[in-house]
Symmetry: C2
Subunit: 506 residues, 2 copies
């Protein structure tokens, strides 16, 4: 254990998860490590749920994280009814249901912004931080595990810090992190990062060792989950986008190594990244949030030169292989705080190509990333806003239909707006790619219909636009009809209008 | 003239506005200086309209500017039917009508982004730039007049540059500008600006003198317009906001000098700024777009220590006084390119308090800044997105009603989204101030109704929210009703529901 806890006096603070959970009192704000189910504090949150049960009267806490944490954490705490407020991102089914029932107050935030608000005192005082680590340095610095998330600010701002020292996480992770904390405003220095592979900070999270009240030894693996597999449609989306990139290079609008890539998580993103293997690009770089399966394949094949991210989130199938070969990636990967991986300053400076997934988009290019039917949260806005707003090129991808064709993912008006037309340059479905840059809304609608809308919905959409344009306007709409496709789905189970002859046959 | 055109060989290029307009051919893209009617190229655009008339067949051009230009420019060109595409902002009534009729394609953009897109070749090739200047340096550098706008990038990227040397503009403007052009991506250096009053560039716009094909001498004054005067409601909005700031200082959440202020243009903003005179704040700074009347009053009274902006736009009443006393403001004002005044990197770094005006807002804090009735553009998104997204504190202000109470500015769902709930921290009407930081949508709606909604609409709004919440969701809505307030206004001339007893009396 001396190799993992190198500050002797801290070795005395090893305790059980249950004892550590005892530091958490009713009404407290608790911040835990974790980003896309990587490197989350696991043992203490679970012990807290047990403890709360034992107490009889359930405890209530506010839970802050980096992004989504393992289902076993969010789910267990949600089931125990402990969490009253949750931020800034989640993706657990049970917690989501509790949120949509109005039982948990969920503050969905741009992932780069949470720590700014915490440090500015805008979200309340953080009582306890629980951070998973692979080691503690001689000075008491915390070496995080598979993600960095918001942990550096949690460690800075919390009254008490609990470390979950996870011996199952690879010791090779040490040295892969780059921890940087921006100074206080208004007299902050520029972030010194100018290159994707540049180090600007320390390999550990600085923390006052006296604040470390407990160290809990664990050996739980990250609870990664399988990805929805790709299909013909995700492949076609990838093809459209890769064709576009190749054309940009051929016509000199982009360099052969493109620009640093950001990619959301999911089947479409994975298809796009995998497609890069077969394209003619070389020496690519990533400046993204999550490093997923395809990133490691691209590093292996040499197509990708370097990847900067905030978390390593791979499927169970690939996890052990990636972790075993971590030494091969030592010089090809840096893990940063999400504030830095998603920072507007850096995204704008580096000229990122941002690729994110839309739940639905409208004919004018507004995007809904979060709310099913305009009301029920799926996961959250995540980093999509950080990237889309500041990117050199902002791409959104979605299949043109969902639910077996009963939902058109392109609608007259999105039922919830996460990204406005100003932040959406390129929209891609399996039908095609619409390059919306520099176009006015009336041009955008025609192009989106031509390129992206599924043929089953095209006529209805053209009909809508033509009638809307008769009413005039920069962004023509018929307000009483604009959300009628969603209403129709809600009432009839499909967005498709029953054809009159069919209706007559009834 | 030697004092104004200091590079001898350029003195030979003086020509008439008509001759200069001759450089502009059908189908060209033309970029002109100008931001909020300050420092716009005036003579050549007007000559172009005349020339087009003479030719019989109207010419067509795309017109790029900094932001809004004088009505005499946008109006004259719109009347002549010359402009087929316009970006990134406008505020002329005639042009607006042509846009809403679909005759002019209007690309409404975040004001910091236009030049990034131009330099990345995403908007096409700029043929001719026309830039108003107060002088040309020995090296051919252009000293802009009352605004900087997008002129540095226009001068860099245009094939040909025409200078409108305006002898009516004060020669004292020389030295007040700070011109900085960020480098190419992805290897760009950090913007070195760390303080509101810091100079990071040159006092002139660098340009290859061989590109200057013509210099036109003019003496037209900036066509500033009167501001809608404040009233009791704008005063109350200001009071609410100033009370909030004072409380922030009193409780140690903000320093006595607050943070650098950004303020939109208009009666409410002016009321807030004027209110600062009577409050206890001192040594304030501004990092904003437009320096309007109240900014100079605050500088005069010593409340404001320094103001950084992109344009000086004062009312006709104050213009001559401000220009006459410009020497008094030499050390208190810097005019920057709009890319720098609005840069996400700097807004985030400096920790700006952003104050912008909403056309309408909804109960969840989404804001519509641009589209009347969800369809017809008023002006454009301007810099509000640059500031609101990256600010330390993002404030939106609006009167709770419009059109004599027949419109509620707070609605169940905005008919067009420019700023999502994630970018709106504080919402203020004359009714009160809602501090939405860290709240979930279901909490936001209750607070907005309590603090901001006009009493005439409060019951209807509570009724809507309660019924919507029965359907569940993170952001409860009844989609088929969400935009019904707008429909009702369209059909009946008021958003108010006629009370049954009144309906019965008819």
């Amino acid at each position: 254990m001396e190799a993992r806890i190198r500050m002797p006096k801290l070795q005395e603070r090893i305790m059980s998860a249950d004892d550590a959970a005892g530091f958490i009192k009713d009404g407290m704000i608790v911040g835990i490590s974790g980003f896309t189910r990587a490197g989350d504090a696991k043992a203490v949150p679970m012990a807290l749920a047990e403890r709360s049960k034992r107490l009889g009267t359930p405890m209530h806490i506010q839970l802050w994280t980096g992004a989504s944490v393992a289902e076993e954490v969010d789910r267990v705490l949600a089931e125990a009814g402990i969490v009253t407020r949750r931020l800034p991102y989640q993706s657990d089914r049970l917690l989501r249901d509790a949120i949509n029932r109005g039982e948990v107050m969920y503050t969905d935030q741009h992932l780069s912004l949470t720590v700014e608000m915490i440090r500015a005192g805008q979200l309340g005082r953080l009582d306890v931080a629980i951070i998973e680590a692979v080691a503690i340095t001689e000075e008491g610095g915390i070496i995080p595990s598979t993600s960095v998330g918001n942990s550096p600010t949690f460690a800075l701002m919390a009254d008490k810090v609990i470390v979950e020292l996870n011996t199952r996480q690879s010791a090779l992770l040490e040295g892969m992190h780059d921890i940087y904390l921006p100074g206080a405003r208004p007299h902050r220095e520029p972030l010194p990062l100018q290159e994707v592979d540049q180090r600007i900070g320390t390999t550990f999270i600085p923390v006052d060792p006296d604040k470390i009240v407990g160290i809990v030894l664990t050996d739980r693996v990250d609870h990664f989950v399988d990805m929805v597999p790709g299909d013909e449609e995700t492949d076609r989306i990838a093809e459209h986008l890769l064709d576009f990139f190749e054309y940009q290079v051929k016509t000199g609008q982009m360099p052969p190594e493109l620009y640093p890539l950001q990619s959301g998580v999911g089947a479409v993103s994975n298809a796009v990244l995998s497609g890069l293997k077969h394209a003619s690009f070389r020496d690519l770089t990533m400046y993204s949030e999550v490093l997923q399966d395809s990133v490691f394949e691209l590093l292996d094949s040499g197509v990708l030169r370097f990847a900067s991210g905030c978390a390593i989130t791979v499927t169970p199938e690939h996890a052990s292989d990636v972790m075993r070969r971590l030494h091969e990636y030592k010089d090809k990967i840096i893990l940063r705080p999400q504030e830095i991986s998603n920072h507007p300053e850096l995204i704008r400076r580096l000229g990122i190509i941002a690729m994110n997934t839309a739940l639905e988009a409208d004919i004018y290019g507004n995007v809904n990333s979060t709310h099913v039917g305009g009301t029920h949260i799926m996961n959250g806005i995540g980093g999509s806003g950080d990237f889309a707003r500041n990117a050199l090129l902002s791409v959104f991808v979605t299949k043109s239909t969902a639910k077996g064709g009963r939902i058109s993912s392109i609608v007259p008006m999105v039922s919830h707006v996460d990204h406005t037309e100003h932040d959406v340059d390129i929209l891609v479905t399996e039908q095609g790619l619409a390059d919306l840059r520099g176009l006015a809304p009336r041009e955008r609608s025609r192009l989106v219909i031509e390129k992206c809308v599924h043929p089953d919905y095209r006529d209805a959409m053209i009909d809508y636009v033509e009638r809307a344009e008769q009413r005039g306007g920069q962004t023509p709409h018929i307000l009483e009809e604009a959300l009628s496709w969603h209403e129709r789905y809600r009432e009839t189970g499909t967005m498709q209008v029953r054809r009159p002859q069919l209706a007559g046959q009834r």
